[in-house]
Symmetry: C2
Subunit: 216 residues, 2 copies
């Protein structure tokens, strides 16, 4: 008689859940979060529909879990790259640099996961929309905070309008995503770096390391 | 015996097609172009599915017709506002002013139709994607052309990088759309006008009329 170890079964369930989410993020990035049906994922993974559904309970829970999984990837690929950097201007530059690189490297095959999801869900009130809006707000507030710190440290002019700067930085990133995804424009990362350099007043490339060492 | 006038029937068919497209644009703007099914539209309009399908033949043809109908609205609400204005800087300012106003007035209830459609279709090769990319390219080329004319006329500095300027203008508009739709941020139009004024070097509001009169 075969005794199935419960511990192994929990580990397996976790692995399956993680596999489902990896496929979910990939599919949603290219085809949208709303098109991410239980059936579509089941086919993709060679599982039964009930097998997929069992891990999440509902399509909305699956969508929320996929948003969380995408946020983990953004954290690893963008936020973490700026984690050790000194607050203020060095960190602001490092965040922008990592953000451009994330789109240039096409971390998500369909471009920025959150831009696509925001565009899809901005008119669909509910928990998925709230999750997306919440995550982008947290990121924007961090950009705002670093801008204020840079102003206080004298690294940005005291008359800087921090809200305006964050608005414009996000515009550059949205233009980069749009040009890369819709027009396959390979010059877009250069345009984005140039725009950010002009906005912030410092090159977002080489000088970043220097500033972070100086400020550390 | 009732004789149906063929002329009346053609006019009716045209009206029905136009009603279907008006609903289609409204639905697609809020819920996406891919979610725009024949069945959904038929329910919305109290028509039979075959009645809707008869006007277009396929879902793709319906999507293409909705993109064209949305383009007509953009032309009327944005491009036409700058049509009488003198080429170069006056026209560039008028185009930007009308573009911001179109988003501020929420001409499409779901925000910019083309931004949403681009985000949805950028990973779906085919005729719908090509139509969206083509329309945005035509608009961007017009912005580019006006920039070059403004440079030639001495209204913008000769060292202006026209591609870079168009990239950054589009970013401001994308940020405005995103902030308005996802965050319901009512300060976004002010941020957008400020950003465009700084980018182009002239206020995009009051002075436009003056410049267009001067240049006319």
């Amino acid at each position: 008689m075969l005794i199935v170890s419960p511990r192994r079964s929990v580990a397996e369930a976790r692995q399956t859940r993680s596999d489902i989410l990896a496929s979910g993020v990939r599919l949603a990035s290219a085809e949208g979060l709303e098109g991410l049906t239980i059936g579509r994922l089941a086919t993709e993974l060679g599982m039964s529909k009930s097998g997929v559904l069992g891990h999440f309970g509902s399509k909305e829970e699956l969508q929320l879990a996929v948003v969380d999984a995408a946020a983990d990837i953004f954290t690893r690929e963008v936020a973490d790259k700026a984690r050790g950097v000194a607050p203020g201007l060095p960190k602001l530059l490092a965040m922008c640099r990592a953000w451009v690189s994330y789109l240039e490297r096409r971390v998500f095959p369909g471009g920025c996961f959150f831009t696509a999801a925001a565009s899809e869900f901005d008119d669909r009130p509910g928990r998925v929309r709230n999750a997306i809006a919440g995550l982008t707000t947290v990121w924007n507030r961090d950009l705002y905070r670093q801008t204020r710190t840079a102003m206080a440290a004298g690294d940005l002019p005291p008359e800087t309008d921090a809200d305006q700067l964050v608005f414009e930085i996000s515009g550059v990133i949205l233009a980069l995503n749009n040009a890369t995804q819709l027009h396959r424009d390979t010059t877009a990362p250069t345009h984005a770096r140039r725009a950010l350099t002009r906005l912030i007043g410092y090159p977002i490339t080489a000088i970043t390391l220097l500033l972070s060492l100086r400020a550390a």
